[in-house]
């Protein structure tokens, strides 16, 4: 970047003057612009116009006589502007500074052409107008005017487009001011300048802005912990759901296995019972059932016989009156016959041994009849006799009943019944028949159960084993049934829990989804914040080290050989010092000779420009000052070597002497000579002129 033009009107000794600067040479080998002026002819006025033209009241603090003035020192500012107005200026004409800076190819693409026009308006008595209307500032960026509501807004625009006001003295300064830079170091002035120029101030501001942003964003998102709390809750719910799912899976497997086992046991029990039934002759009966059946049939039989007896006894009249009366009578008679027949037969058979003993007395050898018979004949005779006895009552008589339908009525009881029947003409035949049939059935059932019980009682031990297994299975099936019920209940409960957890997870996920865009920004902003904090922490020591190295480099190139091994130290809140190898103590630069202090100031400016890569023009008023003949060429050499687009040196004829001018000539892009015309009372600018012919 270079300053292409500065136009001054009614400014100190200038009534209307312009400096039109040439663009830098393409190779950048001729950065030097020499403006020669004798003392009091306009060098300092030129420098002051830069401070106040660019930054107005904010530049006042860098002006001789107003150093230390604050931004709010309006009275001081007005006083300064009035004192800087050209004496004898036309009251109708404002005091004006018009500055233009143009970027070069070596500047960043973002750098724009900037023009600042500042005017101050006066009254007829050449006093500044009252109120805020005494000053007007226009800012043009790439030729387009910027809208600035007031001078402060204009100031911000200028700082944004060019550089901050408080770094100005590091680039635009006079030799003495360079010396004062050393004093300012203790007040952190230049440290701040470094930070601003290097971008650390922006980093700090970004850190503050991010903190504010994060705080507001967290509040919008419901507090710093809200999203993490929701996420924690969601994670916990998911974990709980997973545990419930696992448990339910296990329980379902248990239930499935238990049901399978239950079915197997049920099948086994059915099989065992079928096996038992085969042994017992019935499908599912066991001994107890048979005993109960037997008891029931016995009771039925007894009750039926009793009822039949009573019926026959009490309703004999009715029975006699029925058509069945004769049949019953005949039946009773036939059974009477059978009873008599069986009695005779049983009696005969009971006495057959006795009859046989009479017929064939023992021993047979003593019997005169039998004694002659052989044993074989005796046996055949005995068999024949027994067979004959048996044939006495076989077959039974024809009127004898084949069995006992009314077998319980015997002897005299039968005779009484027959008597009663004979006496009665009718009887309830159907009822009697039914009761008789029931009694018969009960007897048969009882006999059947008794038979089975007898058979079961004689069954082998497998039945016992079967019964024990069935009993065992009954217990196991009962237990597993209970457990199946418990598991069913537990699974139902787990399903309910799972349902609730799914609802919770869904709700929390919805909450997070609502916060997601803000959360994504917050997450990135938090990371940026960490980067900026780490960067901020690292930049300070890095900057201090680098600036010390660069200041040392430039200082040594200017200072004499006594300082060749020195190392500049810039400590916070301490004046700059130089340390020599092998020395514990440092030497303060402020107590050194005047030009050594000035050399430090120039070295610092060069270091700042190099370190911050700011291609701001360097404008130095009387850089050489009281430098001796050795310092002067070294200082100018340091300047001409420096990689900037423009270095404007304001000098009188004793600084850049003719010999130095000749040495510098290859690096000079342009010269001006300013002369104060004592007749016209104004400074005049002569381009391409110098104290010595620049063309020779």
């Amino acid at each position: 970047m270079f300053m292409s033009k500065i136009a001054l009107a009614n400014w100190r000794s200038y009534d209307s003057a312009e400096f039109n600067f040439k663009p830098p040479t393409p190779a950048g080998k001729k950065p030097i612009v020499l403006i020669g002026a004798m003392n009091g002819h306009g060098k300092t006025s030129f420098l002051l116009s830069l401070y106040l033209g660019l930054f107005g009241r904010h530049g006042l603090r860098y002006c001789e006589g107003f150093r230390g003035a604050g931004d709010a020192d309006t009275a001081g500012y007005r006083r300064a502007i009035e004192s800087y107005r050209r004496i004898g200026a036309d009251p109708a004409e404002p005091t004006q500074v018009d500055l233009t800076f143009i970027p070069t190819l070596r500047d960043s693409e973002q750098q724009k052409e900037v023009r600042v026009v500042r005017r101050w308006f006066f009254t007829g008595s050449n006093k500044l107008r009252q109120g805020e209307g005494f000053e007007e500032v226009q800012v043009f960026v790439d030729g387009r005017p910027l809208r600035a509501s007031d001078s402060d807004a204009a100031m911000s625009a200028i700082e944004l487009a060019l550089f901050p006001a408080h770094v100005t003295p590091a680039f635009f300064f006079d030799g003495e001011q360079a010396q004062s830079l050393i004093e300012k170091m203790g007040e952190e002035g230049l440290r701040k300048a470094v930070e601003v120029m290097f971008g650390m101030k922006v980093v700090t501001e970004l850190k503050d802005s991010l903190r504010t942003y994060l705080s507001a964003a967290h509040n919008r998102a419901g507090g710093r912990g809200r999203s993490s709390t929701i996420q924690d809750n969601l994670d916990a719910k998911k974990k709980e759901r997973e545990a419930v799912n696992d448990l339910m899976g296990k329980r379902q497997l248990d239930l499935s296995a238990l049901r399978s086992e239950h079915e197997n046991m049920s099948r086994e029990r059915s099989q065992k019972m079928e096996d038992l039934a085969k042994y017992g002759g019935a499908a599912t009966r066991d001994v107890g059932d048979l005993q109960r059946q037997y008891g029931s049939a016995e009771k039925q039989k007894e009750s039926s016989e009793k009822a039949l007896t009573v019926a026959l006894g009490t309703i004999g009249l009715n029975l006699a009156l029925t058509r069945l009366g004769p049949a019953i009578r005949n039946r009773l008679l036939a059974e009477g016959e059978r009873e008599a027949w069986e009695g005779l037969r049983t009696g005969t058979l009971a006495k057959r041994e006795e009859v046989l003993a009479v017929a064939m007395p023992q021993p047979s050898s003593a019997d005169p009849i039998l004694g002659v018979l052989s044993t074989d004949v005796l046996d055949k005779l005995r068999t024949r006799l027994l067979s004959a006895l048996d044939r006495i009552y076989n077959p039974p008589p024809t009127n004898c009943a084949e069995d006992f339908l009314l077998g319980h009525i015997r002897g005299e009881q039968r005779a009484r019944v027959l008597t009663t029947l004979d006496q009665l003409t009718g009887v309830g035949g159907a009822s009697i028949r039914q009761l008789a049939s029931q009694a018969k059935d009960a007897r048969e059932q009882m006999d059947d159960a008794k038979s089975k019980l007898e058979r079961i009682g004689n069954l082998p031990t497998e039945v016992k084993s079967l019964k024990e297994r069935i009993e065992e299975l009954n217990g196991l099936i009962g237990t597993s049934g209970n457990r199946i019920g418990q598991l069913d209940n537990e699974i139902t409960s787990l399903k309910s829990q799972l349902h609730d957890l799914n609802a919770d997870v869904g709700r929390l996920q919805e909450e997070l989804a609502r916060l997601e865009p803000e959360q994504a920004r917050l997450a990135v902003a938090e990371r940026v914040n960490r980067v900026i904090e780490a960067l901020s922490d690292a930049l300070a020591p890095m900057t201090a080290t680098r600036i010390e190295e660069l200041v040392t480099k430039h200082f040594i190139s200017i200072a004499d050989e006594r300082f060749a091994e020195g190392q500049i130290e810039l400590r916070q809140n301490q004046p700059p010092a130089i340390r020599f190898p092998g020395q514990n103590q440092t030497s303060l630069l402020e107590v050194m000779s005047g030009f050594e202090s000035r050399a430090f100031g120039i070295a610092f400016s060069l270091a700042l420009a190099e370190f911050t890569r700011q291609r701001i023009p360097l404008i130095i008023d009387t850089p050489l000052g009281n430098a001796d003949s050795e310092y002067r060429p070294r200082t100018l050499a340091a300047l001409r070597r420096f990689d900037l687009d423009q270095i404007i040196v304001l000098t009188h004829d004793e600084e850049v002497t003719e010999r130095l001018f000749d040495d510098l000539r290859p690096f000079v892009n342009q010269t001006f000579l300013v002369k104060f015309d004592s007749v016209e009372k104004r400074s005049k600018v002569f381009p391409d002129t110098f104290f010595w012919d620049p063309r020779r």
Binding site: L160, F198, V202, V203, L206, S209, Y213, R521, M542, R613
Partner: protein, 67 residues
């Protein structure tokens, strides 16, 4: 508007790249954010900076989905 000088210094640039990689952001996001801060710096105006920062963060998110 130019990026802060520290973004161009070799040592600082290396440090920035390392930090950006560590925290999974890109240096363009830092440049965007510093530009926003510079725009509002010294103006005394704060309204709008939150929206601009949000937009820069969203642009980063669209450049690096899932970052």
């Amino acid at each position: 508007m130019r990026a802060p000088a520290c973004f161009e210094d070799p040592d600082a640039k290396r440090l920035i790249e390392e930090l950006c990689q560590q925290y999974r952001i890109d240096s363009q996001l830092l440049v965007d954010l510093t530009e926003i801060v510079q725009t509002f710096s010294g103006s005394g105006r704060r309204e709008g900076i939150t929206v601009d920062i949000s937009s820069a963060l969203d642009r980063f998110a669209s450049r690096q989905p899932g970052a």
